[in-house]
């Protein structure tokens, strides 16, 4: 019986080890400047349904080195989705974006939106979830202190801290759910067609609105058949075929 368990355990754990090994091999291929082979190996790990910010980051790097800027941007964006506060990812994404022909000036956001985005992007969904949990436990401790303490000073102190931690816990929870919805919905995409005309309606006969080149990041706001309504960072809205874009 025990042997069966052990075998089961090995079988379950092995794939993970295999993937890590694969990534290590891919890393050394990258270091040896064999970028094509590194790309293939990273993609293989992705095919097995596994992901991590590092994996996407390294894959993006490898694509960048092979000159495939679109894929590089796509993978950097995916990495940033998983680890929004990583400096290296942000830097490489910025470098890759310099190769994009279309320059999109993002719409200015009101200060509170900018601030809240900045705060939310400080951590990933899981980190926010963990913060929420810890703050919740703190709240419980302070609640206990408040209930059982005899001295009025301690009571006041734990009351204030308790309120503070429950507020933090609630905020962190909402941030976490926001980050998670980003990962779940993935409603951003990268344009892969070298040159695509964005139409005013979801048909070939629609009026040509504007022209974008590959590598641009768009937000998917609506869809109809093979057509997707996309919104550029500068607020321009239009329809294009979904064969031209790849979701982040």
């Amino acid at each position: 019986m025990r042997i069966v368990h052990t075998i089961l355990g090995i079988v379950l754990i092995l794939p993970v080890f295999g993937q890590i090994d694969k990534m290590k091999t891919a890393d050394s291929l990258y270091t040896a400047e064999k970028y094509q082979e590194a790309v293939a190996l990273y993609e293989e790990v992705l095919q097995e349904g596994k992901e991590s910010a590092e994996l996407y980051f390294n894959l993006g790097n490898a694509y960048f080195k092979t000159g495939d800027i679109n894929h590089a941007i796509l993978n950097f964006e995916r990495a940033r989705l998983l680890d929004p506060n990583d400096e290296d990812i942000a830097f490489n994404l910025q470098v890759a974006n310099q190769y994009v022909v279309t320059s999109v000036e993002p719409l200015p956001q009101p200060f509170f939106a900018r601030w809240s985005n900045a705060v939310i992007n400080l951590n990933s969904a899981d980190s926010w979830g963990r913060i929420s949990l810890i703050a919740f436990f703190c709240f419980l401790v302070f609640l206990g202190l408040f209930l059982f303490a005899k001295s009025a000073g301690i009571k006041r102190f734990s009351f204030i801290l308790g309120i503070l931690s429950i507020v933090i816990s609630l905020f962190a929870f909402s941030f976490a759910s926001k980050q998670q919805s980003k990962i779940r919905n993935r409603n951003h995409a990268i344009v892969f067609c070298p040159r695509v005309t964005v139409k005013s309606s979801p048909s070939e006969n629609g009026t040509d609105l504007f022209l974008i080149y590959e590598g641009v990041k768009v937000e998917i706001t609506d869809s109809l058949d093979v057509w997707k309504e996309v919104k550029l960072l500068d607020g321009n809205l239009g329809w294009l075929k979904d064969s031209c874009i790849v979701r982040i």
Binding site: G49, K50, V95, G129, L140, L143, Q180
Partner: protein, 600 residues
């Protein structure tokens, strides 16, 4: 140096030449026609004799020698210069066509024999003199000159060159030897499009020489000489150019007398050159270090100083010496350590332009300042040029230099470095950052711990644990509270029991036990009532606690008095049964009052 001194000496004292130098020269036209007379003249600057002619069998000596003598005296700044020239002239006629060499002639001067130069004379077939048609001379306009008699052409020294290879272009005017040319008008000398050109300085006066062209003798004047450097590949055509010659022409004789008073007029002849084309070949693929030099060069370099202190200026001088398109050479690349302060290189040229082309020296000065101490290497400069003669690139390198930089003066470096140490990081190139290599957390795609049942379970678990702890704690607290209450309730009863004991001892006159049991009754009572251990309870503590419980001052005083009496009496028994009885009564009353006051 010695040569220069000698030259200076010669210039200062011309008498030296006069005394020593004997020049004996032979001169004749370099091209003649058969049957034409010409002069062969010898000139000597000193009186001589016994002139021996070389072999002149190909020519007929018609006359000679006719000897003449001319002398000139010059007074310049008091220096008197006297020169005499003796000349011997023969009139010759060529017999046969061909090119003949006249060997040097010899002459004796003061017993010594001097040799003249040798000459080459080309003899071409004589033309039948054609009768110029001068019956109807044009009134004032164009000269009546045949195209064969007067023309211009551009002579190129090469017909096929590499791009950048130098060649000589000569603009020549060919004229019938007898044609009197007085001057030029509207001279449009050729513009060499597609070339970099450099004119050769020419004397203002055009001197004519005789030259054979298309089997005819012309007098040829060189109008312009230019060194050309083709700048594009393929066939370059030098466009025709034109000029107007002023030719003196005799107005045809009308009468016998007119021959004596013949009138001349100046006629204008406009002549245009033929276009000339040149084949330019492209250079083969250039190696690194090629900066446009085509020709034949040598390169050397020198460093102004090899031991310097920081912030001293150092000059690396690279000299390119040779012939070719030296003006067009760009400065060779010099790779200096990146923290050097490097200034733009400066170039100076020292160039001569002659018929043989452009030659000279181009000097590139690289000025830089090392900012930090250390040993540096000034790398080699690889200078590549194309040698058109061999059709190959040649690379020459300058030596490598070691530069030792020591720390400069304290003051100097302190003032300068304060502003220099703060250099921004120099962005040499931009690249993405390197991959991450810590792979620990691979997980299923789209999986987040947040939102899973486990995640919410942790909230629930936390809350549950809290509830359990809360309940347990509260129950315990309640039990504790009961214990205190019980003791409190019991206190009075125990105290009364002890007092009763004391009363028993009082009856039996057992003094010591009596006082002790009263004290025991009080301490026990207070211990239970106030919740303080008997061991740490003393009079001061008890008074303090009683004060805290708002017990009246009078009662506390009574209590203290009872305790004092008891303790005093324990060690020194005194008084009779009356005193004991009073004490007992007082203790009982304090006890009952206390019970009512502490209870609250």
């Amino acid at each position: 140096m010695i040569k220069q001194l000698l030259a200076l000496l010669f210039i200062l004292n011309p008498a030296v030449i006069f005394a020593d130098g004997v020049t004996f020269e032979m001169s004749a036209p370099n091209a003649v026609e058969t049957g034409q007379q010409f002069r062969l003249s010898f000139s000597l600057n000193k009186e001589g004799g016994n002139l021996r002619l070389p072999d002149l069998s190909n020519f007929e000596i018609l006359m000679g020698p006719s000897k003449s003598e001319s002398s000139s005296t010059q007074i310049i700044n008091g220096q008197v210069t006297h020169s005499v020239t003796y000349s011997y002239i023969y009139i010759l006629r060529a017999k046969n066509e061909g090119t003949f060499e006249i060997r040097p002639a010899t002459i004796e001067v003061d017993g010594a024999v001097y040799e003249s130069n040798s000459l080459k004379i080309q003899v071409v077939k004589g033309r039948t003199p054609q009768q110029p048609q001068q019956d109807n001379p044009p009134e004032g306009g164009a000269a009546d000159v045949g195209k064969e008699d007067l023309f211009v052409r551009v002579a190129l020294s090469k017909s096929s060159v590499y791009r950048g290879e130098q060649l000589l272009a000569t603009v020549k005017l060919y004229a019938e030897p007898d044609l009197p040319i007085q001057g030029f008008e509207e001279v449009n000398l050729p513009e060499y499009e597609g070339f970099y050109s450099q004119d050769i300085d020419m004397p203002q006066q055009i001197s004519f020489t005789r030259e054979v062209y298309n089997d005819r003798i012309y007098k040829v004047g060189v109008l312009k000489k230019t060194i050309l450097f083709p700048q594009q590949n393929g066939t370059i055509t030098i466009n025709p150019f034109s000029l107007t010659c002023l030719v003196r022409q005799q107005v045809g004789p009308r009468s016998f007398f007119d021959d004596f008073f013949s009138s001349y007029r100046t006629a204008r002849a406009r002549i245009t050159s033929e276009p000339v084309s040149l084949q330019v070949r492209d250079l083969p693929s250039a190696p690194a270090g090629f900066t446009g030099a085509v020709g034949n060069f040598s390169v050397n370099a020198s460093l102004s100083n090899t031991h310097v202190s920081t912030n001293d200026a150092v000059t690396l001088e690279v000299k390119v010496n040779g012939s070719g398109n030296i003006r067009l050479i760009r400065n060779p690349e010099l790779e200096l350590p990146s923290d050097f302060e490097v200034y733009d290189p400066r170039s100076t040229e020292n160039i001569r332009t002659t018929d043989n082309g452009m030659s000279g020296t181009k000097t590139f000065e690289y000025l830089f300042q090392p900012r930090f101490e250390g040993d540096y290497t000034i790398p080699q400069i690889h200078f590549s040029y194309f040698n058109p003669a061999s059709g190959q690139f040649v690379t020459k390198s300058t030596p490598e230099f070691e530069l030792h930089v020591s720390k400069g003066d304290e003051e100097q470096s302190a003032t300068v470095v304060s502003s220099l140490r703060k250099e921004d990081v120099q962005l040499i190139g931009q690249d993405i950052r390197f991959i991450k290599q810590n792979h620990t957390k691979l997980r299923q795609r789209g999986y987040t711990f947040f939102g899973t049942t486990g995640f919410y379970a942790m909230y629930g678990g936390g809350a549950l644990a809290f509830l359990i702890v809360f309940m347990v704690y509260r129950k315990k607290a309640r039990e504790n509270a009961n214990l205190v209450l019980m003791r409190n309730k019991k206190a009075n009863r125990i105290a009364k029991k002890r007092l009763k004991e004391a009363a028993g001892f009082m009856k039996n006159n057992q003094d010591e036990q009596f006082y002790e049991s009263i004290l025991k009754a009080f301490w026990g009572y207070l211990s239970d009532k106030l919740g303080i251990e008997v061991a740490i309870l003393n009079r001061e503590r008890a008074v303090e606690e009683l004060n805290n419980r708002k017990v009246t001052r009078a009662l506390i005083d009574d209590f203290v008095k009872v305790i004092e009496q008891c303790e005093f009496a324990r060690y020194a028994p005194s008084g009779g049964s009356k005193a004991r009885h009073d004490l007992y009564k007082q203790a009982a009353s304090v006890m009952s009052k206390m019970e009512s006051q502490i209870k609250r």
